[in-house]
Amino acid sequence: MSACREIALLRELKHPNVISLQKVFLSHTDRKVWLLFDYAEHDLWHIIKYHRSAKANKKTINVPKNMVKSLLYQILDGIHYLHANWVLHRDLKPANILVMGEGTERGRVKIADMGFARLFNAPLKPLADLDPVVVTFWYRAPELLLGARHYTKAIDIWAIGCIFAELLTSEPIFHCRQEDIKTSNPYHHDQLDRIFTVMGFPQEKDWEDIRKMPEHNTLMKDFKRSSYVSCNLTKYMEKHRVKPDSKAFHLLQKLLTMDPTKRVTSEQAMNDPYFQEDPKPSSDVFEGYPIPYPKREFLTDEEEDKADTNASKQQQGGGGNDQSSAHGQPPTKRVRVMPPATTAGTSMVTSEYQHMHTGNVQGTGSNSQQINFTSGNMSQTSNTSSTNGQPRF
């Protein structure tokens, strides 16, 4: 299901800040679908992690002053394109924001992992009916946590606000202990508590329709406004040395507006004074500086097999050494490379919701060998990993 939707959308999307699908390979005998994407060396998950550990070790990293601004602008640009084309991303998080390494598109943001994106101009069924849980909790808008049945552009904007805050502070702003992600109940007490602890409890006048949310009763039962009276975003960001009179803070406030109807749109955000102020955002977020971040590590076939059989993917997975512990997030990207003897430089990346199989590019048929894979990400989707026995395709 998601594979099919993903391909349909990806096939049509064309924007410098949205990952582009280079080719689809269909393997008839085992019903596997391979997607070949642009290869992006970096992603915000790894970039933020690098900054956080540098901060912990009191090291400075030499990046342009306005890198965060450039990143945010390009994220907004990509999302604006998606929204203008009636596509919602629905799963924005640092791991899904890629950044190109050395090359013609150096330092360019690419929004990826559109697997959960869907058309919403004329939803045929209430969107929540199809996939009960979609956005990673930390980046999930309050209305979703209160049981909103329909996804909106505003939900993506909230996630961008979260990412912006995380870029400014190197800490996930709504960090929350994560347990059972598979729950179909959208209401999530701890996550709401975390949001209120940072933002304060929403005032009636600030979010009038909160009373209409499906989980409003639970909310009133579980939470007391008085527990959060001294909480607000200004305080939180000041603690992280973001000045409340800065343009960055003002824009952050507009992105992280509790009432989804009052949240800025991507277009409004792109026209915000923050971006008109010098230094202006640039198309190479690194602005010609050397890129300080390590390259992706690659898995060889043997390691991959070992990783699969030992069920110790986190230790074996490229760049995944500490992904599961330090930050409480599942490993985001597993990268592997063909042995040089077969196809030098070929790399494949699977998204976390997709499952890697032992088959490789050569297994998809002879024509795939004629394709130059040197600059491609390969992600694979397959029905065989589905648990309910229904083909995902």
């Binding site: 049509e12 689809v24 045929l124 009916d129 029905n383 395709f393």
Partner: protein, 286 residues
Amino acid sequence: MAGNFWQSSHYQQWLLDKQDLIRERQSDLKVLSEEDYQKIMIFFANFIQALGEQLKVRQQVIATATVYFKRFYARNSLKSIDPWLMAPTCIFLASKVEEFGVISNSRLVSTCQTVVKNKFSHAYPQEYPYRISNVLECEFYLLEMMDCCLVVYHPYRPLTQFVSDFSNTDDTILAVAWRIVNDSLRTDVCLLYPPYMIALAALHIACVIQQKDLKSWFAELSVDMDKILEITKQILKLYELWKNYDEKKEISAVLNNMPKARTSPTPPPNQGPSDGTQMSQTSQST
């Protein structure tokens, strides 16, 4: 996707040239007359419509499925894959792409059996032979042949916009033109022209039927009226054909002449439709 049609795969890859279409069809037209070929395509569009209605999917899903079906046979002979299998496969794929949700495997096959038995026994007297493994296998060929271009633009949206442009109150014109758009799926126009032009042609015909004078409105559009008239002509040709055609009586004979897969057209369950070359691999997934 309500995005930009002019950047879509529909526009860039799937507006075909009339001459191309005729050329691709040559091998089938050696066996069938052009009229019989059209009757077969109409018949299977009706079959898709009946399946879609029985499965209670929206018209949008049915329309997309019909376009998939036409795309496949625009590039392949009728004998490459049995259209009796291709039709439900198109519905199956379209319902996923159009976000209707997955039709369950068993429901799809049982619906095929029911619809064939209750509504199409005059054309297919045997039991419906295909199983879900056949559909899944067929789906991959369909995907591959369409080069994974799955988002299809339809005339319904531009039609609604055009009608609201000249009148807020005229529901009859919209209803009539809407039905004409549905009928246009029984012609080649969805393979040949952008959907907004088909919408205009449908509107044009609807105006003639309703005796509504929209000449000045049409005159203000900067659109190639010759093309609109070409589309109009093709749709009117369909109505002409329908006038003296009783599908129930005649289709069986036409289908008998249809080029078929080289081996048995009704394979036993759990085996591919056995075209020998195209579908020789047995699907592993169920």
